[in-house]
Assembly symmetry: D2
Homo-oligomer: 301 residues x 4
């Protein structure tokens, strides 16, 4: 993650300017503000701003005049109740703003989460930097043979090396040509909005992304999941750590009820009831398809 000295100075400057506020302050988050946490080879996540804390969730749920806190244990119980019963609106009362640097193909997945605010670096207006995601060798993996939209084991050495060679060479050539086309030395220079089309999807972009806690949890449940593509999962994992420090009660409830939990079908619940009674249930007697049964076995450990 190459931050320029100017960028590092700007971040240090922001971290140096403490002010007074009457708003709710989350000490765990103040520690993270502005700092760029590296993700992948050139990416990062950094918190630009946040609104609210665990108490703010309770305050809104109670529509209270003051802090809404009766007691700390009381607050955690309420938050667990809200999470368990899908009362999502109190979680919407917290908000976070992130600055993220990420490859374009990751950005394309990410943006599908519509309930968020986004300002992306404009390649119509500005020139993109020469920064491309090149996977670490252990993440250069084969197409999965069991999951049509996933990856399997890492490629063997020679094949992995060929892949990395291609990715590096094509990125470099594409960028050289991008620069050549927009250059106004001895020529007019192609419009940036056109030249960008030559750049591959592993080039880095960046954006400001603002989202409420409920929708962030939804994002994290899907993107920190084991089935998410590795390259977006590492961003979700990094954000999980930040959220755990920001709203510890809410994050713990999220871990228990969402990340670590599972939604079971009526058929699956019926199987469980039979199994608890001592009945031996097989895929054939379960009423599930093979795929469902395999996933169910995964949940049952």
């Amino acid at each position: 993650m190459p931050l320029s000295p100017e960028q590092e100075a700007e971040i240090a400057d922001q971290r140096g300017q403490s002010q007074q506020t009457l708003r709710a302050v989350a000490p765990g988050m103040e520690d993270h503000l502005y700092t760029a946490y590296p993700v992948l080879d050139h990416g990062f996540v950094r918190v630009i701003d946040y609104m609210g804390d665990d108490a703010a969730i309770c305050q809104a749920a109670r529509v209270s005049y003051g802090k809404g806190t009766k007691s700390v244990s009381n607050d955690e119980g309420l938050i667990r109740y809200l999470m368990r019963h899908w009362h999502s609106t109190p979680f919407e009362m917290c908000e976070i703003k992130l600055h993220v640097k990420l490859p374009v193909f990751v950005a394309r997945q990410w943006i599908r989460h519509r309930t968020a605010n986004v300002n992306e670096y404009s390649a119509r207006y500005s020139i993109l930097d020469r920064e491309f995601y090149i996977p670490a060798p252990e993440h250069v993996a084969a197409q999965s043979t069991v999951n049509n939209q996933g990856r399997g084991a890492p490629l063997e050495g020679a094949e992995a090396a060929r892949v990395l060679e291609i990715l590096k060479a094509d990125s470099a050539r594409a960028y050289d040509n991008y620069e050549a086309m927009i250059s106004d030395e001895g020529q007019q220079g192609l419009a940036r909005e056109l030249a960008r089309m030559n750049l591959p999807a592993n080039i880095y972009t960046q954006w400001y992304w603002k989202v409420d806690l409920h929708n962030l949890f939804h994002f994290l449940r899907l993107r920190a999941d084991a089935h998410a593509q590795y390259e977006i999962r590492v961003y979700a994992d990094e954000i999980c750590k930040l959220v755990a420090d920001w709203v510890p009660f809410a994050y713990r409830a999220f871990e228990d009820y969402r990340m670590g939990g599972a939604t079971l079908s009526a058929t699956a619940l019926d199987c469980i009831r039979r199994m608890v009674k001592g009945e031996e249930v097989t895929q054939e007697s379960s009423g599930m398809s093979k795929g469902e049964w395999r996933e169910f076995m995964g949940v049952m450990g």
Copy 2:
């Protein structure tokens, strides 16, 4: 606006607890935090939290590493440019959370603005207070004769007095009966979720309402407009004052380009071009219907 001594103490308590933060701080908004500003006879608006300031709008528009401020005049120019060209996403980077107490019929209009987060006081769970909106005599107005969905001049004394008498008597009786039905003295007591249906639309409710600045401006443009119903307009007017102190550049641009501006049709623009050339344009020669022409004349002063 009858706040109980406990509520006033809670608010004073919140205003007394200043903390350090590294986040952007809007001094104009710190002054308003938590204070309940009266609206109508029992309502209020108070700011619970906010995120961002004028500089945060520019910072997001520039996807910058630091504060995003080049210079103050530069920032105002950028904000005006963004507003003029409908670049709405940078304004979405600011967020505000309000606690509002308002009559139910106002809440029903307000909630139609969908892009916001809401936690309303639950009349399934809790007992509503005996507080009803009774208009001041000067706002007891006749049905408009020119606008089917508006009001005209204030009613004359005797008729206004009858109306006020009815509103007060019916509110009081409805609430007496509400209390009688839910009481568990000498009877079981009707479920709150049922009893509430006896209460009229002028009873007060309250909610936490959180919205980004772009969507707040949209709300204000429609609800602070002269055609909005008076009882929601006074809330919008109060919020306008708060926003003016929070993000002064953005608010000034909003006033110039939205509140004080007008959207003119192709037909209207054509008329203006002819008028500037000295042509006398009438409704007949304008190509507009009578209604459009009347509105156009209103814009032309």
Copy 3:
């Protein structure tokens, strides 16, 4: 559900006018179009329009050029897969438009589902009808003693009779006074936008409500649930029947994975694994609170 003869004639007229279309047609839904299905004492639900069918879900999931149907069994399998894995966007490709007549206090709950399009009958512009929801005696229930936001057993005869008497009398008086205030006989007549505030929350309103299938399923899961208030649940139940005829595969998957299913926490899954192994698990050894355990026991039957 008192439809006027004119309204019945308009509905019959719409049902009599069949036309040719090249669009996807859901035969099960064509049978329901326009017909008003009664709900509560004066309410109804009727389908005004729909877009798509089961095949359209698959077509979008496959981004296909033609119908997207490989085979019927194939389609149902795909739909179950999409539902199981929370792939919600293909379900968003179906849309339904309903005309609903419902009490205001039900409308206030309903409108909290924001991802939908709504046009409500305007009481600023028009005069509301004299129609109020008065519960059937068996639904006049006491406040629940175990659930703070629910109802318990029906009230006993005398108390129920008192409640019904109050609801009827207060509704009638409120409406009489509403009419008296807006009347322009011998007086100016109060503006409708003001007079409406005298009407209680059991008066009926109506709206056009349009929503995509994914968001409709979310609404139905929450509102057809046993914990939803009876007066909104009956609307959800009626809509469930319509959806079952519209998109039978999707509805069946929804019943299995959502309505009949359950989301279990990591803690609950751990308990299940222990129980299947033959361990006796109690609330004390479960790691759950009493409330969670009671709900868990409910799921385990």
Copy 4:
């Protein structure tokens, strides 16, 4: 726009299967259904489904039991009134579903319109086709010298030729290498979700895109605007033609009040009033910045 014979057959098949429906039918749209209208060198737009027509807008605005049509002229007047007064909800009652094939860099702009439903062809799951957008020579333009985010005049012959050569060669090489990496001949084959990152932003993708008429108009106002990038504008232009045939009254109102209209600031309105009175107003005396004045002069013709 190279449709395969199979795709053409599927489209012809869909256009050949007419069925009876009781729903609102828009004859102008039936003529367009399924047909792929070419855009750019390999792209297209085709209508997959639609809901509603001009009458449906009025029907919803009136919350009516029947068709909602009083008379045709009455309907057009109502639609113009709704458009003029920003009553957007009745327009949300119409919905359209499109199948669009478009370059990735266009898709990235398009997706920023969040209030829509999207299913995109998955390059994690499937292999992308070898189809790249290569601009026609007259659209290979220089960076604008007056607008930092736009393009100016076409490049001269030799420079344009160089650009086209680069775009073609880099696209071809990138795709060759994409194929080489995913191939499982004599090697394992790289996962598709990784290989796609080598592909440039001018490769074509495709999606199903569903949106309501209000949000479609918002999209068209921004993207059919002269300042939009040419490559997305041609899609918007093509959709405009379809909408004009679908809801002719609404489209006409949109053209007059939105596309052909302009939003003027309070300052600009003040200048116009002075100009109509015969005063000579200059940039200096206008109160506008140079940029604003230039835009204002553009509006004034």
